[in-house]
Symmetry: C2
Subunit: 347 residues, 2 copies
DNA sequence: TCAATATACTGAAACGTTACAGATTGCCAA
DNA sequence: TTGGCAATCTGTAACGTTTCAGTATATTGA
């Protein structure tokens, strides 16, 4: 439509974005040669290579993504698959920042692929794979037997999971050691003389639910404390639900004197529930919570916190996917982040 | 490499992803006809059109993005440009969810393009435009005279800004009415008898800083209250800085008895600072804060809040960009969200 | 000297799509 | 009967890239 020149070789009109053809014309070489020179192919003369790369840099040549993608199938895209309802708030931004940090000096773009509660979590993954929309995928809310991981493994598409699976299949992951977290939390509370502990769990069904629950249980028997069951909520529940049920729990005769919470937002609600029941944090009950931002300290100074960095998770996950795409052994791309310890106010 | 058939037309081997050629083969039509039939071109017979579309649906045909993009230049991508350091935390996830909500049933993908403190904010935008990586762009942290908006307007690439500009140029935007927010907050505090008010401002230089400050000032003179200057912080400062400087402020003789805060995270720090100074919220000072999640209520029941939905902002921004891409008048794609009113605890 | 071989480069084809410029058919007016 | 003209359909080229199968030139071994 808006092309001016009718000559086959209109590269002299300098306004359009430079392509290989432009470079070929400028250097007097063939398109093939230019292409290979740019990617350091061995059969290109050293001087030619330098010359081409110099010119390319000078005129700001950038390979056309669509061209590459069409020809090679390589999208230079990695996709972060997110649940638009359940994912904790700040979680998402941090993980995204972590990912972008890593892919910043690569040709990769990050696309966010959402799915909602009503959908099968496999849907977005299937979409990505079937349409070949990404070279690598990052998923969260990982389950012990995760159909998404299984699916991608079958299709041979590189991915990394936030959280581990337990299927006897090997794939890259990053996980926070929630077993250790729950254990440390329990030991900390026990060290303060707390004996009857309750746990605000991760969402049932996710792998780190198991880890957390196990860490909690093992440490309980280790320190000889007992569990006050609190199975009616998880951190996936709404603020109001958590608050109400905590209040109910705390009004009971056999209420806990120590609580471990798996997420900051839930902790806010739990504390509100405690206070609704007329009890006081630090006196009637102590609470150790995981948090991902440094804000919980400000909320109640009596809170104890363990920090989990989602930014780190994002970086690690991105590194893992890129590594797999780059041909590394998936088994070597697994990482576990250890809790730094329980911090009191003004740690 | 892994292609089996050597015949030119290997579409009979059903395993590969279907293309127009596959459809052409199956229907016995030409590729061109199929292409046009799928997009309801007028010169295709009604029955043929239906037939092609039926077959396409049956075998799950999906146009190859790279093919379309290479041929037409249309990327079917919209980019959200984010500052990886300053953007408030939950802000980002909500805005992303809002955007994905709108583009869910379109062919669009969302890519997140980050930039860091050290970079010129124009960099990522320039990159997107120069490489033609997106059909539309969403930016935030909008300034009255915003070089990014000017740049994209010049280049003719559709975009929407979160927040307004003030350059006499018309473009789509979505904004929260921060003038109204600050005004309502002031009136609310004045209604409670507060007379010496301080403002925790948005980042200096952004448009909504001006709006907020103006709304604050106008309402102050309207109700006859006075301002206690608090220019040493904005919501871009760290939690620690805000906390310390609030404590300093509150220890002064002429401390404010009412505070308006532009963001939830800052509010947490401000409250901590107030309490560091030995004062009590609700007694010595009242505070009205904007928040985007419903969590501030839980923090201190004495807080007053005004809700701003970033999810809504995301949706509106996406709608605006898509509208502009679709040929709508940019001037008609501007929206302003009105604060719902000041809510006390248990509103 | 000749062939064999290494070195440095090149054109053509293909990835999947759309736009352009036809091509084929049937029907109608003259 | 013929020319004209809709109504449908089609082949070719092009977008920018990489791969395949070369070609041309210089270098080597005998």
């Amino acid at each position: 439509m808006d092309r001016r020149a009718k000559e086959k070789d209109d590269d002299t009109s300098a306004k359009e974005r430079p392509t290989l053809k432009t470079l070929a014309f400028m250097t007097g070489l063939g398109v093939t040669t230019v292409s290979r020179a740019l990617k350091d192919a061995p059969e290109i003369g050293a001087e030619t290579r330098r010359r081409v790369q110099l010119v390319a840099k000078q005129i700001g040549y950038r390979p056309n993504r669509a061209g590459v993608r069409l020809r090679t199938g390589k999208t230079n895209v990695i996709s972060l698959v997110l649940n638009t309802e359940h994912e904790l708030m700040s979680f998402v931004s941090d993980i995204i920042y972590g990912v972008t940090e890593v892919i910043a000096d690569t040709p990769y773009h990050l696309i966010v692929t959402p799915y909602s509660r009503s959908q099968d979590p496999l849907d977005p993954v299937r979409y990505l794979v079937e349409t070949g929309s990404a070279d690598g995928v990052i998923i969260s809310r990982t389950q012990p037997n995760d159909p998404r991981a299984r699916y991608m493994l079958e299709r041979g598409i590189p991915f990394a999971t936030h959280g581990r699976t337990d299927m006897g299949l090997v794939h890259p992951y990053h996980d926070f050691d929630n077993y250790a977290f729950a254990g440390e939390a329990v030991r900390h509370l026990a060290g303060m003389g707390r004996r009857r502990l309750a746990l605000v769990t991760p969402p049932v069904g996710l792998t780190y639910y198991d880890h957390t629950v196990n860490g909690f249980a093992d440490a309980l028997s280790e320190v000889g404390a007992s569990e006050v069951p609190f199975n009616t909520v998880s951190i996936d529940h709404t603020i109001e639900q958590i608050r109400m049920r905590t209040a109910q729990l705390m009004r009971r005769e056999d209420r806990p004197d120590g609580i471990v919470s798996s997420a900051a937002a839930a902790t806010l609600a739990v504390v509100a529930g405690i206070e609704d029941a007329g009890l006081k944090l630090g006196r009637d009950v102590d609470l150790v919570s995981k948090q991902s931002s440094e804000l919980l300290h400000l909320f109640r100074r009596e809170l104890f916190v363990v920090n989990e960095s989602f930014r780190l998770a994002g970086s690690e996950l991105a590194r893992a996917v890129l590594g797999w795409i780059g041909g590394m052994d998936p088994g070597s791309l697994q990482s576990l982040s250890t809790p730094g310890g329980v911090l009191p106010y003004r740690g």
